[in-house]
């Protein structure tokens, strides 16, 4: 049975379409995927005869089926839009499944709580780089979003009197930081991520959403540039974030997180925002990178150095081991650099759990025991776990407004919406996390902004609107790239180039960054980027070609990596997760360490409290950087006062 390689163009309304190539081929009997989809695909001969193109028409297309994508797809289908969801993985296997922490929401079930306190915590956590209108939107909507999920069928854990149970998490406080630890993280036992995916996926199927599973989205096809006169329509959400697969420090995310969304947007000529802000999770297993949840420290686990000292007491006297992640990561790194690292090479710290009662370890943290044994060979009841700050999350991504619409920015006209394109999830940058993300805010981000995208589209468009015709050869370049990679016969293998990229990023853009090292890194990354032209793949097949998929992913990773390192090199300050040894302080428009009276406000060119907007020329790998001001006002000043910048200490 001959297997045929099929390219699909999935058409949505007006301006924007996206195109996907199935990782699996379909036999010539079935020209388009679907168990659950519609039979409205037609074959077109516009592009090439070697790769027959199938056009599908939908009202809305969602790329990525993680928490955000599924929430958007579900919302759109419920509102009556004929929705397609294109995903690299089976929906319940998206990286959201790894989330075991929970969703923050100020429900007030454990103690008196107010979403404005959550707002304050998030703004402070972002080190005042977050857009306060988006943060206002997210924290105010949080309780509604959680209750809504519960109504969809998510079985949140409950207290004895039947209310949703909420636990403590890092960075969450009461009364604007003055009332002690807040308990606002809602969870489904430790299966929150999976439950979210399962619930949303199951519900969306009842509304007839079409899923293109194990399809790899190649590119966005923009028609007539992005400033079409038509109002926004076909959404695009992407839940695959960037994390570069670093080498020794590794990264905590699955190998499917390859920055596809950011790369697609970059190739379409649009900017990405704040990619230099990479969050290092303080406790990834040394070597493998597998994450040891913050919950360990919430249950009493402590970090110690080679002298057996609980060093977090020095760095964060109040919060100690439960300080914000960037503070903990930096503390561990400082201890290592000052010679108090553990192990034969003194290059990591220890997470100690064996002082906790074995019963507590068994009931509260049993999965940790497995992970520690399998990847680190450690028995947690006897020995501490070797840990190291590990790449975990990227706060940056595709810039959007608080409604989920993708934006560009010019100094003359300010923010401008890109019609037809929306983004949510880790791939987007609303920006609610600013320079640093708080734990349990990410699942919240997914749900609230996935929902926001669905609402915005429902407000702006109607189901069944006619699509303007697509150029017959749209997508030619993407197919040509695919073909070139499939037969690539240069001298460097995919894995070699990837390793070079990982090493460069790990050595030049890790937790602590310096100007000279970053500049070297930028030059090296540029050289690595050029080697993409010399790439060599070995699998020429057109069916289930993992080598080809991983090569496409490498291209995506590379685009993200060059933007990250160039943005980091230019940003001459330390803010949130971006730490510079040569510029240790935050550079704001005023010096907030001193009284404001008598200070002159600096113009935006002279300070760093602004978003980075980066674009890349895919042919040369050259990165261009521009900047965009932070939004400092909340959505309603009376309802929720904006938080003026201040020094951030815990």
């Amino acid at each position: 049975m001959a297997a045929v390689c099929i390219a699909s163009r999935v058409l949505t309304k007006k301006v924007l379409s996206s195109k996907a190539l199935p990782a699996v081929s379909q036999s010539s009997r079935k020209l388009h995927f679907s168990i659950y989809g519609k039979s409205n695909a037609k074959v077109s001969d516009g592009i090439s005869t070697q790769y027959p193109v199938v056009d599908h028409e939908f009202d809305a297309v969602v790329v990525g089926a993680g928490g955000a994508g599924l929430r958007a797809a579900f919302g759109l289908s419920e509102a009556g839009f004929n929705t397609a969801c294109v995903t690299k993985l089976f929906p319940t296997r998206s990286h959201t499944v790894a989330a075991q922490g929970g969703i923050n929401a100020a429900l007030g079930n454990m103690e008196n709580d107010d979403w404005r306190w959550h707002f304050y915590d998030t703004v402070k956590g972002s080190d005042w780089l977050g857009d306060q209108d988006a943060i206002h939107y997210m924290t105010e909507q949080a309780p509604h979003a959680v209750v809504e999920l519960e109504n969809f069928g998510m079985p949140f854990s409950r207290t004895d009197d039947g209310k949703i149970y909420q636990r403590a998490f890092g960075g969450q406080s009461l009364k604007y930081g003055k009332g002690g630890q807040a308990h606002r993280c809602c969870c489904v036992a430790d299966r929150t991520g999976h439950s979210l995916l399962h619930t949303l996926y199951g519900r969306s199927l009842r509304y007839d959403t079409s899923y293109f599973v194990e399809y790899f989205a190649l590119d966005l096809l923009m028609e007539d540039g992005e400033m079409g006169p038509s109002t926004a329509s076909g959404p695009r959400t992407q839940s695959s974030p960037l994390l570069w697969l670093t080498y020794s420090g590794s990264c905590t995310s699955a190998h499917t997180s390859t920055g596809d969304g950011n790369a697609m947007v970059t190739r379409a000529g649009l900017p990405c925002q704040d990619l230099e802000f990479v969050q290092f999770h303080p406790t990834g297993i040394y070597g493998a990178g597998c994450l040891i949840t913050e919950g360990c420290r919430g249950e009493g686990g402590i970090l110690i150095n080679s002298e057996g000292e609980r060093f977090m007491e020095r760095y964060a006297p109040n919060a100690k081991d439960l300080a914000s992640r960037d503070v903990v990561s930096r503390s561990i790194t400082i201890e290592i650099r000052e010679g108090r690292g553990c192990g034969p090479e003194k290059d990591h710290a220890y997470l100690q759990l064996h002082h906790l009662p074995p019963q507590q370890l068994a009931t509260r943290l049993p999965g940790i025991s497995e992970t520690a044994m399998i990847f680190a060979g450690v028995d947690v009841t006897k020995e501490p776990i070797p840990v190291l700050p590990t790449v975990h999350y990227n706060m940056g991504g595709i810039p959007t407004n608080y409604k989920g619409q993708v934006i560009t920015h010019t100094p003359e006209e300010g923010d401008k919406v890109v019609p037809g394109l929306f983004a949510c999830g880790e791939a987007a940058c609303a920006s609610v996390h600013g320079a640093n993300r708080l734990g349990a805010n990410s699942l919240l981000d997914l749900v609230v902004f996935g929902r926001a995208c669905a609402h915005t589209i429902t407000d702006i468009c109607t189901p069944g609107e006619k699509l303007s015709p697509l150029k017959p050869n749209a997508g030619e370049e993407s197919v040509a790239n695919l073909d070139r990679l499939r037969f690539a016969n240069g001298s460097l293998r995919t894995s070699e180039i990837r390793l070079n990229m990982q090493k460069t990023m790990q050595n030049h853009a890790a937790v602590f960054r310096t100007g000279k090292v970053l500049k070297e890194g930028c030059d090296k990354m540029d050289a690595v980027y050029q080697t993409l032209d010399d790439i060599k793949t070995f699998d020429r097949g057109i069916v289930w070609n993992t080598d080809l998929v991983e090569t496409l992913e490498l291209q995506n990773l590379m685009l993200n990596a060059v933007q990250t390192i160039n943005s980091a090199e230019q940003r001459q300050e330390s803010r949130g997760a971006h730490s510079r040894e040569d510029f240790k302080d935050r550079e704001d428009e005023y010096d907030y360490t001193k009284p404001l009276a008598g200070q002159q406000r600096k113009p935006i060119e002279q300070h760093w409290r602004k978003h980075t907007l980066s674009t890349v020329d895919p042919k040369t790998g050259k990165v261009t950087l521009k900047y965009r001001p932070v939004i400092d006002n909340s959505l309603d000043a009376e309802d929720c006062a904006a938080v003026p910048p201040a020094i951030r200490s815990y």
Binding site: I35, R167, H255, G289, P366, I368, D539
Partner: protein
Amino acid sequence: MLGVLVKRVVNRVYQVVLRPTLACPVSTRGYKGEASDDSRGDLIEIPLPPWTEKDGETMDMKRRRLLFQSRKRGMLENCILLSLFAKKYLNTMSETQLRQYDRLINEPSNDWDIYYWATEAQPVPNVYAGEIMDLLKEFTKNKDQEQRLDAPNLEYLDKGSQ
């Protein structure tokens, strides 16, 4: 054919009902805190379409598909474990073994379950017990204490380089 289909549907329903009792003893997952045990309400009330085996695939095609599906998982632990496992065993699996493996990595909806079965943190449901599960459990124990820092590169498949 219909008889087989009916049996499969019945099995699926049976498993869905059976699951809560399987998981009832102490939840042995990552971090529980004070949270009550998982009621699994979503899994019971929102059943997903049942997984079915793919028809008409050659063994070679199956191996290629399972390779992709071993390397692309929901979380890092499974990415590393399953891609290393696939490197060691996938190309020498018999047809029955391939089908067992296919079911094991594609039917469970929660990727963590596969990890907990492989690490013996939770008992393996009968439908997944068998040769492949045993191989995976043994492999996970890492008796040779090899370093498991990352998923392997694909070049071991490149016939030209061997």
